[in-house]
Amino acid sequence: MTHIAKTVAALRKKFPDAVQEVIEFRGETTVVVDAASLVAVCLFLRDDADLNYNYLADLAGIDYYPDEPRFAVSYIVYAMTVNARFRLKVFISGDEPEVPTVTGVWPTANWYEREVYDMFGITFTGHPDLRRLLMPADWVGHPHRKDYPLGYEEVQFSFNWREVDARKPYAKE
């Protein structure tokens, strides 16, 4: 029995209601859990002496627009002692999604969550310092949402040179 199979069995036993789905794909395991019990699951994974997932390797936001539930947050947790990793996933519906923060479990989640908040607008409730990480502080919108305009500027060719040039906001001095 691999460490990950042991983990899945332990999670199913400990949180029978929270574990919604277990996906196996090309040797990767994804456990979909309920957002409400996410922190409890993470604490269990970290603190259980047998499981010992002591490292949050990655945290990412996903936008499934126009599907519903629209957003997901995926956590890749890693157990250094046994070299085992798997993915925890939380689905959230609506345009103003909220997920409880896991900064209390793994402090490294702090900046990951700030980045996901910046790019997807997913609010991590209880986060100690939820500010934008990459975009300027006064930026409007969340660029990695699929309905966000790319801010594309018309390409200047010889036939539309003057037209585009007239629109361009040159620095005065």
């Binding site: 990459l134 975009m135 300027p136 801010g151 500027e153 200047q156 361009k168 040159y170 620095a171 001095e173």
Partner: protein
Amino acid sequence: MGLEQKLGNLGVVTMTLEQAVNWGRTNAMWPMLFGLACCAMEMISTQAPAYDVSRFGMELMRASPRQSDLMIVAGRVSRKMAPVLRRLYDQMPDPKWVLAMGDCASCGGIFNNYAIVQGVDEVVPVDVYVAGCPPRPEALIHGVMTLHAKVRKEKISQWK
């Protein structure tokens, strides 16, 4: 009887003040260290012995805007970086010039999206654009030469 015959050969050259000052300005430009992306690699090799831009009076890249009069914007400028760039430009003493190196600095290049300023001329007035992705050191030196030609043609009324 001319002055030269009376006083001997003094090596005097007559020229206008304009020419003298412009000559001095072109041959002692102090560029600011401003590598933002891959163009910075080419800028570094422009400085290195193989191309040796110090032949044209640019021995040192200054890390401080207060000691430099040429800003070589080498690389893409993100919208978050733009206020910083403008602030550095404002800190440079007059006379000052800006050289937009490479496609990203000139017009946004391949990064036609929300995060990148579509040409630094939206933020600071640019004197010379150097095309290329990234431009080779020869191209950058040609840009510097073009800037020198431009500075040599400046009139007193345009001086700052």
